[in-house]
Amino acid sequence: MLDELYREIILDHYRNPRNRGELADADTKVRGNNPICGDEVTLYLKIADGKIDAARSTGNGCSISQASTSMMTQAIVGRSLDDALALIGEVEGMMRGGGVPEGPDLDDLAALEGVRKFPSRVKCALLPWETLKQSIQEYRGT
């Protein structure tokens, strides 16, 4: 069962996080945290014409939260804000037993599917996605 959680691709994203670091001219900068385990993510987005042009992150936490963050920053660049919101919904759905998201740049995300067998870790996987949702809401001023 542990193999389903710690798939090679997750450990790879954990050890070599993509899009890591601050984004100097970010349009949004939002910090999310999980008060119980101490995971934290700060997400920087560059947004133009309703589209995410760049995404970077800082923070620290467990392999799941950090790998999920890394995968997310890969997956969302180039997507419209509405597409990104839909993707958040798909990832949440996957954690509740739905299918894996499909589409360009989304292959890695499927590796998160195994998390749903570990209920106490679902929060870790969703932390960056909740932070993304908040970023979009802040950007849109809602």
């Binding site: 069962m1 542990l2 710690y6 450990l11 385990c37 936490g61 467990c62 570990f118 106490s120 870790c124």
Partner: protein
């Protein structure tokens, strides 16, 4: 010496399995497991005696009241209180500290006054003081910790007579440190401050004598000492309790109520508004009797042995850093550590698959973790039912985690 086999047979949950493996419960600092003697006391209360208390006139009410007040006396004797009236039943340590913060702190604190705690406090011994200090225009200040996460005695010199309250953890839940509270109490009294001890991790694990300690308030939780959830204790010097404001208002804590005002009952009832948790007070008394039957000094000796063993075993593992004092005489039953390359949360999940229950994270001590520059630790905590063999399993589980993370 504790009879390990006999003790383990008293705890029904210890014979269950987790993910197909026998449970190795190393999370007693979060909450302890319960012996059948405690469970049976609660069942007996509900099956035979249950009634509301202090409202008398019928036999069940008399029985329930007597059991409740006997429970108070049992707890009072356990911590060597002068008088059972010094024992207030609350929900948990957290409520006890909030009670003192509001009903004592709210009365004595004013602008310029200081409340001192330490850098390694549980949130429950930080947030109530931050809030009441802010409300009263007082300041919260913090003793630093040394590099074994212990309160350095030199820090006590920072106290001046602006200090009105010193609220300290006795044994740290995050690092296992047994703090030198006797010196802190003397230093606080020397500047005229009263001392509250957060004894959530000491009363369950070692002999604690409020008169010998000479503290002014002591807070602890039943659920961490083999007792039920939902019951905790505030002990306070009678004269302080008498001078304090009430805490919650309602039934039982009053003397007389009029439409425009009310007068208060005497301690401890003044602080016990509404129907108390009689069943769990009775359960707590059963827990105290259980602990006394083993002997608190024996329990501490057992845990000291385990901690010495665990400190040695963990210290030999590659990439492992253990927090808290290296000297097991100053180290309670908490082994708090990090493993390089594995986040504590991941370690917890991997150990859980082996049936081993530890806790990972910040242990309700955000500021201390931030000060150490870490995002948390893994914590294995032992109790009277824990075995050396379980620490061996912990060590084997850490090796397994290193494999999963390709570190081995």
């Amino acid at each position: 010496m504790l009879n390990e086999q006999q003790i383990r047979a008293d705890f029904p949950i210890l014979s269950r399995t987790v993910h197909g493996k026998p449970l190795v419960y190393l999370d007693s600092a979060a909450t302890s497991q319960k012996p059948r003697q405690v469970i049976e006391a609660i069942v007996d209360y509900y099956r035979v005696h249950n009634a509301n208390v202090h409202r008398g006139i019928h036999a069940l009410g008399d029985e329930a009241t007597e059991l409740f007040e006997q429970a108070r006396a049992t707890v009072a004797k356990f911590i060597n209180a002068r008088d059972p009236r010094e024992v207030v039943f609350v929900r948990n340590t957290t409520e006890a500290i909030n009670l003192v913060a509001r009903a004592y702190g709210g009365r004595v604190l004013g602008p310029g006054d200081e409340v001192w705690t330490s850098a390694v406090e549980h949130h429950s011994n930080l947030v109530p003081w931050q809030r009441i200090a802010a409300e009263r225009g007082a300041t919260t200040r913090y003793f630093p910790m040394d590099d074994e996460q212990s309160l350095p005695e030199s820090a006590l010199e920072m106290l001046t007579n602006r200090a009105k309250i010193v609220a300290l953890v006795h044994v740290s839940n995050a690092f296992g440190t047994i703090h030198p509270v006797e010196r802190a109490i003397a230093a606080a009294h020397a500047v005229g401050a009263v001392v509250l001890l957060d004894a959530a991790q000491s009363v369950p694990h070692m002999p604690v004598d409020v008169q010998a300690l000479d503290c002014d308030f002591l807070a602890f939780s039943g659920h961490k000492m083999c007792g039920p959830m939902g019951i905790g204790v505030l002990w306070g010097r009678l004269e302080l309790l008498e001078a304090m404001d009430p805490f919650l208002g309602g039934g039982s804590m009053i003397q007389e109520v009029f439409y425009d005002h009310a007068t208060w009952a005497e301690p401890p009832h003044k602080f016990e508004a509404g129907t108390p948790n009689v069943a769990d007070a009775v359960g707590l008394a059963a827990a105290v009797r259980y602990l006394e039957s083993l002997g608190m000094a024996n329990i501490r000796a057992h845990e000291r042995d385990l901690v010495a063993y665990g400190l040695r075993a963990l210290g030999e593992l590659p990439g492992v850093r253990v927090y808290g004092p290296a000297d097991p005489d100053r180290h309670g039953g908490v082994l708090s550590f990090t493993v390089e390359g594995i986040h504590p949360h991941d370690l917890g999940t991997i150990l859980d698959q082996e049936g081993i229950a530890i806790r990972s994270g910040q242990h309700c001590c955000h500021p201390a973790m931030r000060a150490l520059g870490i995002s948390g630790t893994a914590r294995a905590s032992v109790y009277l039912y824990s075995l050396r063999q379980e620490l061996d399993q912990l060590v084997a589980g850490i090796a397994r985690a290193r494999e999963v993370f390709d570190l081995a």
